[in-house]
Every structure is written in C-alpha cells, then in structure tokens.
Subunit: 153 residues, 2 copies
DNA sequence: GCTTGACCTTCCCATGATGGGAAGCCTTAT
DNA sequence: ATAAGGCTTCCCATCATGGGAAGGTCAAGC
C-alpha cells in the first residue's frame, strides 16, 4: 500500500502521514527498494485512530498518549478517561470564552443601525467610549486575567 | 512615552506593539534621537482599540478594517456591522464545532468505568470499533466536510 | 523501447498571534 | 563611574496544516 492509498483509506493527507512519522507519532513506515513508503492495513487502522482523535479535538501530544494506552493491553481505563476529561475541560473553557465574545458582539450589533450613517455603537465600544447603559448591559468579554492565551482569540 | 509605558497603559505587550507596527496595523512610531520609540496618548487609544478588538476575537486583518472605518468619519455603520456579523457567524460555527466534540466525548467518558480495568469505550470509539448502540447515541463529531480547518481543532 | 502522466521523495516556506531570548545600546539613579 | 533596567533588532518556537519546487519512479499505451 502506497502513501496515497493509505491516505485515501484513512482520511489523513499524505503530507500529514509523513509529518506524523517525522515526529514519532507513527512508527517509521517500511520502504520499497526505490524508497516509497509501504503501509499495512494495521497502519491504516492506526491512522484512522489518529484521524478520529483529531476530529474530537485532541492535540497530537494527547494522541501520542492515547496511542500508547491503546497499544497497552494492561492499561487502566482511568488513564484514558483522565485524558478525555481534561480535554472536555479545555473544550468547556474555550466554548465559554467564545460564547462571551459572541454575546458581547451580539449586544453591540443589535444596537448598531447598520445603515449609511456613521454613528456606530460597535466602534464606540471598541474605542473605549463607554456609553451609559440604561439596562445592565454586559460589555465585557474575556477579561484579560481569564483570557486563554493558548487559544484562537 | 516609551514603549513600556504605552504597553502598560494599553494592555498590549511591547512585543506586540512592535509587531503591529511591522505589519502596518499601527503607524510607525516616532523615535528619539537614540532610536527609542515614542508614543502619544492618541497612540495608546489606538492600542486599546486593538486590544479590545482582540478580546472580542477579531483577527488582525479585521481589526485593520475596523481601524480604517473608525478613522473614517464618513463610514456607513453598515460596514462595521457587516464585519461584526461575519465574526459572529464564525464564532457560532466554532462554538458548534467545539460543542459537538464535547458532547461526543462526554458520552464516551460516561460510558467509561475509569478504573484499573483495561476495557475502555473511549479507545473502542477511537479505534473505530463500533459497538452497537442501544440508545440512539451520537458518536460522530465534526464531520470532515464541515470541519473548520482554520480553527483550533 | 520510449513517452507520458500520475505518483512518490525530500526540502523549504507560509499560516496567525504570540512569547522567549540573545547581543548590544541607552538612560537614570546611586 | 558603575550598575540596573529599559530599549533596539534579529532569530527561533509554538501548533497542525498546506503549498510548491525539484527530481526520482512506476505503469500504461504507442
């Protein structure tokens, strides 16, 4: 099996397959005499595992751990669950962060006429011009202290 | 005002202030004879604008547009609102994606004993071992077609 | 046999926003 | 005068992924 076929069968791009090998996530593939990488159905299975893990948002370093546990017949399931729960926590934090941004933006967008006139509450907010709120509006999102610098902010 | 003082007053790191200048997001700061950058309160205001925009999750390219509109007294507020609404859409998509991951993981984690025994539904799922679901469980998250490759997956 | 096209190889570069750190100059206070 | 701390530029790292160039290989068709 060529890398292209392994790619098609696993849903992982050839580029990524080579990359995973280079960082030691995959064992180095066998080679034909001419240097082509060769893959077994077993390898494809492993690639699918990685693919599915990526789809669930796991980082490659986590996947490295998960692969180790997968291949360790004596693993305690607690170790796997631990990784999963930590990831759920991360997701929860990121979701909350994005939702805070979204909420703030929605308030601002609702207040903006969106016509040809130049006055715009969105720009007013961004420029720090704090208009008095009649209703207890939440203008803040992702306060600096809590902001997760590791994420897509 | 030094770069350090501008940083303190705006909440943007000195590193980022230089970067924003280098990519043309900020006008090039004035310099003292010895080469130190000099900032005015006006510059600090601009930096705060950028900071706040980043906190709301806008990309630097969007912020470039927002800054242009901010400084254009004749802007139509619709242009600003348009950028904001697009960003809200992005946020909505990302949130949905992360929530789908979270949901799948929670189902799997709930099914996992998390003890010393090796059998683990999480690994079973990752390895593609599709156990028959009694209840209509959703095992899928972020289907490939819809997955936003531009984000932190 | 030779050509052609589709595949493979490696290597370098780019993304987006940010931080770390080194080497060296400047300023300010003691 | 000297030390401390701030400033400068430049390079590198992150994380996962794609793009593309230059060159080797394989299989099918003429």
């Amino acid at each position: 099996m060529n890398i292209g076929q392994a790619s098609g069968a696993s849903g992982v791009s050839a580029k990524m397959i080579r990359y995973y090998e280079s960082i030691g996530l995959m064992p180095a593939a066998g080679r034909t005499q001419s240097g082509y990488r060769v893959y077994s159905p077993r390898d494809v299975h492993l690639l699918r595992f990685v693919r599915r893990s990526r789809d669930l948002g796991f980082a490659l370093e986590d996947i490295r751990l998960l692969l180790g546990l997968w291949q360790d017949g004596a693993r305690p399931s607690a170790a796997v669950k631990d990784i999963a729960l930590k990831h759920i926590d991360d997701l929860t934090r990121k979701i909350a962060e994005l939702q805070a941004m979204k909420r703030s933006l929605q308030h601002l967008a609702e207040a903006c006429h969106g016509d040809a006139r130049p006055d715009c509450p969105i720009l007013d907010d961004l420029s720090g011009l704090d208009v008095g709120h009649e209703k207890g509006g939440e203008t803040e999102a992702a306060p600096p202290q809590t902001a997760d610098k590791s994420c897509c902010r």
